[in-house]
Amino acid sequence: MTSRRAVLSGALGAVVAGVGGCGRSPRAVQVAVVWSGGELTRFREVVKHYPRPVDVVSTRNDIDAFLSTRYRTANQPDVAIVPQIGLITDYARRGWLEPVPAEVSARFATPWQEMLTVDSAQYGAWVKAAHKSLVWYSPDRQSEPPPTWAEFVSMVQRLAAAGRPAPLAIGAADGWVLTDWLENLLIGFARAGEYQRLVDGTLAWDSPLVRSALGQLAAVWAIPGAFPDGIGRALITQQEESIIQVTEGRAAMVVEGDFVAATADKFRPAGAAPLASTRFPAVAGTRPLLVAGDAAVVFNGSSSGRDLVEWLTRPTSFQSWITAGGYLSPNLLIPPEAYGDARAVTRAAELRDASGTLQFDLSDQLRGSLGGPDGLGSWKILQDFLAEVTRPDAVDRAVRRLDRAAAQARREAGS
């Protein structure tokens, strides 16, 4: 009997060795990201230059679900590059993350450092920034959008009345596109500190600020013919497709961040000029400056993760992405001139802005499911708002839903 068992276990052992064999090669550093498509390709090119193999896993927008599951099952990646800063706060408080060394945190300006500071330690380092107060248009077909919100609204009305192309492309299938619109208006309308109080939860969603911002959104979104093929189609148009709608001349403008440039260049028809961008119109006197970013965090005890994050924040690491376009960073070691392209240099300089008007993406900072992602929280609420924007009570309904979702998120955090 013993010999038979030996044969059996020998056979099993051989297979075990077979499986183990592929794990024995020097383990790659694993990085979880939300990027996909072009951005993922660019990032993979970046880490190709890292001396060790790097395994990049894209989780799409469900990075919280992915990281939570993997952490609970003790096979979390070494590094995660997360756009939702709210998550970083959650993870840091749960003790999942390692603070970054002072040497790394010194590579960013103070407002950027503060965004990642949880209980006086900085968790994570910025590897990419996004300037999200931009309107993109094709200079071949379209004059520069006007500098004030009121003029912008009447321009959209005029274009919509003229028929094709529709004035606005909007990738409303991706909820974050809609929250970016809202945030630009919130920043424009907010009195000092109000925007931050929304983040902290000390200002109710049912407030004049949110109501007037939503009301102005409705003033544009409800214009008949504002989007190519209507609102229903807009809701199943993804962000990158909305850019292609502009390059193909089916829409005149698209409101989104600096990263639009990369996709727009890739799909630029032969002979057409590259898309141009201008700042989001001033709402109540000031032009909003909305920024967001992707921060790399290191999970507890991963020394290879620590090394990778240090490397990622070196000035030359992202050179290949900078050259390819569609990349900005708040990293002070990268001088704005390094971006080469005149547009990018301007935007990079604005990201450094010391005048204090810069505001971080609200939905990225919200805690729990209020922030998103797909199908949840503010992402979904704004999509529903767009779907019924022509109803007279659309703003009321959206405000009520936001309040309910905030209460639910608080309950979840409390439980």
Binding site: V19, C22, S36, G38, A65, R70, T73, N75, G232, I236
Partner: protein, 592 residues
């Protein structure tokens, strides 16, 4: 035949078994209990550790609070009170109720109408569900130039006077679930076709003649000669199988549903994943427990519906095709398969054609414009990750396959031939185990893996695959070994001096079933997405890599299509090569 007294005593004991040609009855005093338990112990340990214990742990967690205190149904109340939970539950039930009916009706019509074309219908089962999702997402692209499905829908709406710009969209909130279900039906139709064909072949034809001779019409023939004696049971089993399978629609929903429609499309699996990251505590555990309970009902239904054994194959399978049958129905029967084959082929065609466009053309011109360019493939193959992932997935799938066969063959033999006490219960348990969705038990499974030091390793990932694949493999092999003719077993018993020898000599009769199990297991691991998502660590399986690319379509369609085509080739080749064994294996494993 010389040996110590104990051996001789066992030999004497064996003669008792030799008399018994068929599976032994449980009441009979059984001498090989020790050997049977030796064969069953490894798989029992594995399934106990990776499936049963985690299920028990999940149920326990649903009834206790964060500190382990008893909270009765509080977690359930919280979970059900959360916004949208009832919608999600309703949709999950809808999936489990509607999809099987559609699959059965379509599958039956196809099974009776034509013998050829099985391969075309079986091929979708070989594709990863993530690929199916990509394919149908492209097919239903809202732009009529790119999405043929949308063009058809717009044209249909036009017939009813709905203008093109207010026509419904497949991916819109109203139709998204229909779109998802259609992709699922596309992928699963092969199963009922194969199973119904086997059932029809096993049917005595004189029954139909008898009904006809008494003046029965076509409907009477169907009811009395087909439905009542045989098809009702087959349909019940297929229903249960497909209903349980809809739990795996997870991959499809995540890939196909646009962000704005995810809420309208989400089933329990998606909701639990999104909101709790497969947490094992509190309300999430309560939802998981509800899910398990629903699956339990399905398993019981399957066990009750399939309690009667499959009728033994009738030697002369004469298709029921009387001369008087040449009517309009015959025309329909001839035309239907061709029509369905066309419908079935269009999404594949669209996928392949899209992959042959450059990413720019795929995004702007659509697949119907002629183009044979390989730049999308070049983009995909330029990624080191893909090559690494291909290797990882291949090694993983092969190792898991070997392990599953090595574990399931002895266990199947023990259950089919040695039949230790509790064999019947083991059968039900195996059916139940093959229905457990891995998301439900992810947390506890990992507690186990951590305990044995395998969390986050490729071996741990493989072990989870083995545990998930083994129950079905044991069922198939058990049935195959039970079918081995008695004479053959008797020969083996006489020639083989020891139990191992008998096992070894019986195995050749089950080679087709072993091939079927191996092929299905390989394909399942190759096509996996969920297990890799939850347990992958040291490497990235192909399904996960492809999923990561599906955040943006249109701009990415060319490369996505190329990737999907590349990922589908190995499982397709394997299934096509081993189609005979696979069909037999599916019929025997799925139905009994």
């Amino acid at each position: 035949m010389t040996g110590p007294a104990s051996t001789r005593a066992r030999l004497l004991g064996e003669t008792v078994v030799i008399d018994d040609v068929g599976p032994g009855r449980r009441s009979r005093a059984y001498p090989s209990g020790g050997f049977a338990s030796l064969l069953l112990t490894p798989i029992a340990l594995l399934l106990g550790g990776i499936l049963l214990w985690p299920v028990a742990r999940t149920v326990q967690a649903s009834l206790t609070g964060p500190d382990g205190q008893w909270v009765a149904l509080a977690n359930f109340r919280i979970a059900l009170a959360a916004e949208g939970t009832w919608g999600v539950l309703g949709r999950t039930v809808l999936w489990a109720a509607v999809v099987p009916v559609v699959v059965i009706v379509l599958g039956y019509l196809l099974a009776v109408s034509r013998r050829a074309g099985t391969l075309l219908l079986l091929a979708p089962m070989a594709l990863p569900l993530v690929v199916t999702g990509v394919m149908f997402r492209l097919f239903y692209d809202p732009d009529p130039a790119r999405g043929t499905g949308s063009r058809v829908l717009t044209a249909l709406a036009g017939l009813f006077g709905v203008p093109a710009d207010s026509a419904p969209a497949w991916l819109g909130p109203d139709l998204i679930t229909v779109a998802l279900m259609s992709a699922f039906v596309w992928a699963w139709i092969g199963l009922p076709v194969v199973v119904f064909r086997a059932a029809l072949d096993a049917l005595p034809t004189d029954l139909a003649d008898a009904v006809r001779s008494k003046g029965g019409g076509r409907l009477d023939v169907f009811r009395d000669a087909l439905w009542r004696p045989l098809l009702r049971r087959t349909a019940a089993i297929v229903f249960a199988l497909v209903a349980l399978g809809t739990a795996r629609a997870f991959d499809l929903i995540l890939v196909m549903a646009p962000g704005s429609g995810l809420d309208e499309a989400a089933t329990l699996a998606v909701r639990v994943w999104q909101t709790s990251g497969s947490a094992t505590t509190g309300p999430a555990a309560a939802l998981n427990t509800l899910w398990l309970a629903a699956l339990g009902v399905g398993v019981v239904a399957a066990a009750v519906g399939g309690r009667q054994a499959w009728p033994p194959p009738v030697p002369a399978p004469v298709p029921i095709r009387a001369a008087s049958d040449r009517s309009r129905w015959t025309t329909v029967r001839r035309a239907l398969p061709i029509l369905i084959a066309l419908v079935w082929a269009v999404p594949v065609l669209a996928l392949v054609a899209t992959s042959l466009h450059s990413p720019q053309d795929a995004a702007t011109r659509g697949w119907t414009t002629w183009s044979v360019r390989l730049s999308s493939y070049r983009d995909v193959l330029a990624q080191d990750e893909l090559i690494r992932s291909l290797w990882f997935t291949a090694v993983l799938a092969l190792s898991v396959t070997v392990l599953v066969v090595a574990l399931a063959l002895p266990a199947g033999y023990a259950l089919a031939r040695l039949r230790p006490p509790g064999t019947a219960a083991a059968g039900v348990l195996l059916v139940a185990a093959s229905a457990v969705p891995v998301q439900v038990v992810a947390g506890p499974v990992n507690e186990v893996l951590e305990l044995v030091g395998l969390a986050g390793t490729s071996f741990g990932l493989g072990l989870v695959h083995v545990a998930l694949g083994a129950p079905f493999a044991v069922l198939v092999l058990r049935n195959a070994l039970a079918d081995v003719p008695g004479a053959r077993v008797r020969e083996a018993r006489i020639a083989g001096r020891r139990e191992w020898g008998v096992l070894w000599r019986t195995v050749p009769a089950a080679v087709p079933a072993i091939i079927a199990v191996a092929v299905l297991e390989f394909v399942q691991v190759w096509n996996d997405f969920v297990v890799g998502l939850l347990f992958g660590g040291a490497g990235t399986p192909l399904g996960l890599l492809l999923f990561g690319q599906t955040r943006q379509f249109v701009s990415n369609s060319g490369t996505l299509a190329a990737f999907a085509v590349l990922a589908s080739v190995p499982p397709l080749v394997v299934i096509v090569l081993a189609r005979r064994q696979v069909i037999t294996g599916l019929v025997s494993g799925a139905v009994r």
